[in-house]
């Protein structure tokens, strides 16, 4: 796969900005998202701007190549707030000419006016959470919008932005592989150039987990139909010209999310906002940063201490190699073996590697190691064996 590798060059930096609020909490969601009665936009603005200053003064000389507003529901942010953040970034750091600025949006929080304002603020890519294309399933997922509203939002977004992606969740309750194939064909009929297609995961601590444990979440597909759905997702999207470039992400070549590629390729990114993580290389050591998770706590930490960061930890070579393999094998392009060996040569278990090659789960071509189409859906099991 091509794609701007300079996003992972030593001087390049991606920036993740977390907005932790939503209109309602979806029962399947384990993101750091909260429902708040009122949000003091002014306070938040000051805090974000202060964090931007801190992060870039701590990491001087970096060129900003991507920005990602994630959530929560960043489309609930005041467009003015987004504008102020982006203009602060202009002065805080040099930016690449083709900087990618993505914002996650929910169909229910969209009006055409806001989208225009986001574009004017500098946002040039939108990722829209449609999740399902029929009302019954949207209701079961606890979503606040109808299928029609979702499609309306998609039309609006496409009228305003050049780059629009949307998310769907599949392997839902009572969904058969045929149902999903039909829904996916409908989605592809909109000719998107980027799609995120996630299998529904029952995450610990969510309402769905509780229902699942009490047998109140009937009709979830078993392993075999779920695997069938994954396989047919690959087939259908590939035929439509949107092959998977990552486990759950599909794009027309060249239309990949550059920001997300930074995560999977092991590039550097800073994280700002409640619960945002970062990976920053300083003096040759890759550091993991974390921030205060609870919105109020983050705010007051920024206000009183001048920083929302709660920890910065240097990763060992082993941990760094582990992350690189774990994230990199999610990509269709896979990983460079010499890169991994350069970080930590003991990390890969070569006997296990040979065994999985023999089983047709991993493929090696020169320096590159990739999962095969059979191996991709087994990545967790592969990693457990592969990493020594």
């Amino acid at each position: 796969m091509t794609g701007p590798l300079r996003d992972t060059a030593a001087s390049a930096l991606g920036l993740y900005i977390h907005w932790p609020f939503c209109q309602a909490k979806c029962p399947y969601c384990d993101f750091n998202s909260h429902v708040a009665a009122r949000i003091d936009m002014e306070r938040w603005k000051i805090a974000y701007l202060s964090e931007i200053e801190r992060v870039f003064s701590e990491n001087p000389g970096r060129i900003l190549t991507t920005v990602f507003f994630g959530g929560g529901t960043p489309s609930l942010m005041d467009p003015d707030l987004v504008a102020e953040i982006l203009s602060a970034l202009q002065t805080a750091a040099p930016q690449a000419n083709d900087v990618e600025i993505t914002l996650e949006a929910n169909p229910s929080s969209v009006e055409i006016g806001r989208f225009r304002a986001f574009r004017e603020a500098g946002v040039n890519r939108v990722s829209l959470g449609l999740q399902a294309l029929n009302d019954d399933d949207l209701r079961r997922l606890g979503r606040m919008h109808s299928a029609a509203e979702g499609l309306q939002a998609l039309t609006t977004a496409r009228a305003v932005f050049d780059r629009v992606s949307f998310d769907l969740i599949y392997a839902r309750q009572h969904q058969t592989p045929d149902d999903w194939a039909a829904e996916l064909h409908r989605a592809l009929a909109f000719e998107p150039d980027h799609l995120s297609l996630y299998q529904l995961t029952i995450e610990p601590g969510t309402v769905f987990q509780r229902r699942f444990d009490q047998n109140q979440l009937p009709g979830l597909p078993a392993e075999d139909p779920a695997a069938d759905m994954f396989d047919l997702t690959q087939r259908i999207c590939e035929a439509a010209g949107l092959p998977a470039y990552e486990v759950s992400n599909h794009a027309r070549p060249g239309a990949e999310s550059r920001h997300n590629l930074i995560y999977w390729r092991g590039g550097d990114y800073a994280g700002i906002g409640p619960g945002a993580h970062g990976r920053l290389t300083r003096d040759g050591i890759r550091h993991a940063t974390e921030t205060e998770r609870i919105p109020e706590a983050w705010l007051s930490s920024v206000e009183t201490r001048g920083s929302g960061e709660t920890s910065i930890t240097g990763l060992s070579r082993r941990e760094e190699a582990e992350e690189r393999v774990m994230m990199g094998l999610r990509l269709a392009e896979g990983i460079s073996l010499s890169d991994i060996i350069a970080i930590d040569e003991t990390e890969i278990d070569h006997a296990a590697l040979a065994e999985m090659q023999a089983l047709g789960l991993l493929h090696i071509d020169g320096d590159r190691m990739t999962t095969t189409p059979r191996g991709r859906p087994l990545l967790n099991a592969i990693l457990a064996k592969l990493l020594a």
Binding site: D224, A276, H277, N380, L387
Partner: protein, 599 residues
């Protein structure tokens, strides 16, 4: 030092769940032995496993003081015993240490199989028996009918049985009074040389070996030099005391009294239940006869998951054996599993309890191989081999014939479930010996092969009778039958730990059932796994476990890297501990679960 006439020693015995431990609670509570705020239900069931399963596993002794209606204060030593048949050895040993028994019968259930078994043991031990009808608070309680049943079925006088509710406390003062007036005082000679019975022992990480004793003759004091007569060890007593149930130091124990001692005993195997403790200098001339040893009936291999834990395991087994004289162990090696122990138990529950205790109390992960009974193998040269482990089955060309252990099982069951019980016994190759009625309950006696009973017969019996049947058994000897060794092959490799002996006529059904079970129990791997049952070289059943198809995290972005990595590291730590069978990982629980049949 207490007057013999002011001491009463007794055990509380009953069928499982009839309320022994709850009665003990009330006796402890009413006499103010434990402060109200420290009281809890079944206070003597202190082990985690006991509290989780809601049953007593270890017999427990408590000393209580009771000011009786005659104006005197009595010392009562009560032993709460377990009800489950697998822990019967605890009961028989406890009975040797005391003079009387409270026979508790649930007035809503009536006489059950262990009620009978316990009564016979109590009579054997020359006990005075006081029948106690419990749970009369229940609407279903029928004390009058149960009284009659006790007289008809057991043949003891129940006219002055005490009616109580251990739950509400009703009738407890009458129980205390009956203990004092109806149970005999112990006998003993204060001036004779010391003779004390080693009733039980356990290992305490702080105190070392703690020994429970019953003094027969003489007086034992802190600082005394003592000798264990059978094992020969001599020690100075560090600490002497009684259980209230907390440990409380005491200066001396005289005839008829019970208590504990510690004596920096270095070798735990020097402590043997039933041994006689006497003074080093002035020993008794007549040691006690000792306890009848228990006969383990189920055997399995226990191996540490991590081979490095073997020494710790040896140590743990030794310490645990100190607290459980009915469990045997001897070292064993296996090609696939390395060093471990072949252990003997009184039943499957006993096995599960010991394994759990080893894992929890000593923090060792274990692999348990398929349980087996002991077969007698008669060789063509006339010799006989005891086979504890099917994996050791000798070459058939040298074998003349095999014999398997049989039991006499007594089952009490309400009429309406009799048909199901007969069918179950018939399916397990049983031979009916007797069928009588006691009121609306049938008493069925069957001759059954032990290997059809130990694994899951009790569970099945409970399920086909909705819990209304009770069951007890005794070994009756060996009988020849057509038994064959069945091997299980996982991914084309034989797994010795899953080999079992089965009857020839049932081999195919068993093999099919085991393969199906294993298919459920073994998690999917990255390749498909054939699971086969074979006799000799012949495959008699086959299942295929499909390959794993899906195990991938759907969403993994920048914020997930740390969590995901930590998860992987945990998985890797687990992998290092996992024992492989060829290329396949078989979960530890599979070896027992695979043998539990649904039919």
């Amino acid at each position: 030092m207490t007057e013999l006439s002011r001491i009463r020693n007794f055990s509380i015995v009953a069928h499982i769940d009839h309320g022994k431990s709850t009665l003990a609670d009330r006796l402890i509570q009413l006499t103010g032995t434990v402060a109200e705020r420290d009281m809890q239900d079944q206070i003597l069931d202190a082990m985690d496993i006991e509290r989780e399963r809601g049953i007593t596993i270890k017999a427990n002794t408590v000393r209580i003081e009771y000011p009786a209606r005659d104006g005197h204060t009595y010392i009562l030593n009560l032993i709460d015993t377990p009800g489950h048949v697998d822990f019967a050895y605890e009961v028989s040993r406890s009975m040797q240490a005391v003079e009387g028994s409270l026979l508790v019968v649930d007035a809503s259930q009536g006489v059950e199989a262990q009620t009978l078994a316990n009564v016979y043991q109590a009579i054997d031990a020359d006990h005075e028996i006081v029948p106690v009808l419990n749970k009369i608070d229940l609407p279903a309680a029928e004390p009058a009918r149960v009284r009659e049943q006790i007289e008809d079925v057991i043949g003891i006088d129940a006219s002055d049985a005490v009616e109580i509710s251990a739950k509400t406390g009703l009738g407890i003062p009458d129980v205390l009074e009956a203990i004092v007036t109806r149970l005999p005082a112990p006998k003993g000679d204060r001036d004779a040389p010391l003779k004390a019975m080693l009733v039980d022992s356990y290992y305490d990480p702080y105190l070392g070996v703690v020994v429970l004793i019953r003094v027969i003759d003489g007086v034992i004091r802190k600082g005394d030099r003592i000798r264990m007569m059978k094992t020969g060890g001599t020690y100075g007593i560090d600490r002497l005391g009684v259980f209230t149930p907390k440990m409380k130091d005491i200066a001396e124990l005289g005839p008829g009294e019970m208590g504990f001692l510690t004596a920096s005993i270095k070798q735990v195997r020097d402590t043997r239940v039933g041994d006689t403790i006497t003074h080093e200098k002035k020993p008794t001339a007549t040691p006690l006869p000792g306890f009848k040893p228990s006969q383990p009936v189920v055997f399995c291999g226990l191996f540490p998951v991590d081979a490095n834990d073997f020494e710790d395991m040896r140590d743990a087994i030794e310490k645990l054996a100190l607290n459980d004289a009915s469990f045997t162990s001897e070292m064993e090696t296996s090609a696939a599993l390395g060093f471990g122990f072949r252990c003997g138990f009184l039943g499957l529950l006993h096995l599960e309890v010991i394994r759990d205790r080893l894992e929890r109390e000593y923090d060792i992960d274990l692999i348990t191989t398929a349980p087996s009974v002991i077969y007698h193998i008669y060789m063509r040269d006339g010799s006989m081999i005891e086979l504890h482990n099917p994996a050791d089955m000798p070459d058939l060309t040298h074998v003349d014939h095999l014999e398997e252990p049989r039991i006499k099982a007594t089952i009490l069951v309400p009429d309406e479930y009799l048909g199901d019980v007969l069918k179950l016994c018939q399916d397990r190759r049983g031979i009916q010996l007797d069928l009588t009625y006691a009121g609306s309950r049938a008493m069925v006696v069957y001759d059954l092969p032990l290997n059809e009973v130990v694994f899951d017969f009790y569970d099945r019996l409970k399920s086909v009778t909705k819990g209304y049947a009770s069951f007890d058994y005794q070994m009756i000897g060996y009988r020849q039958d057509h038994l064959v060794k069945m091997q299980i092959l996982v991914n084309d490799e034989p797994v010795d730990a899953l080999s079992t002996m089965v009857h020839r006529d049932r081999a195919e059904a068993r093999g099919r059932a085991m393969c199906e079970k294993l298919k459920e129990l073994i998690p999917r791997h990255m390749f498909k796994i054939p699971i086969q049952a074979a006799i000799g070289g012949r495959i008699i059943a086959r299942e295929t476990l499909a390959a794993l198809r899906k195990d991938v995290t759907a969403k993994c972005y920048g914020g997930d890297a740390t969590r995901k990595r930590k998860l992987l590291e945990k998985q890797k730590a687990g992998k290092k501990k996992m024992r492989q069978f060829g290329k396949v990982e078989i979960p530890q629980s599979a070896f027992i679960s695979a043998l539990k049949m649904d039919g």
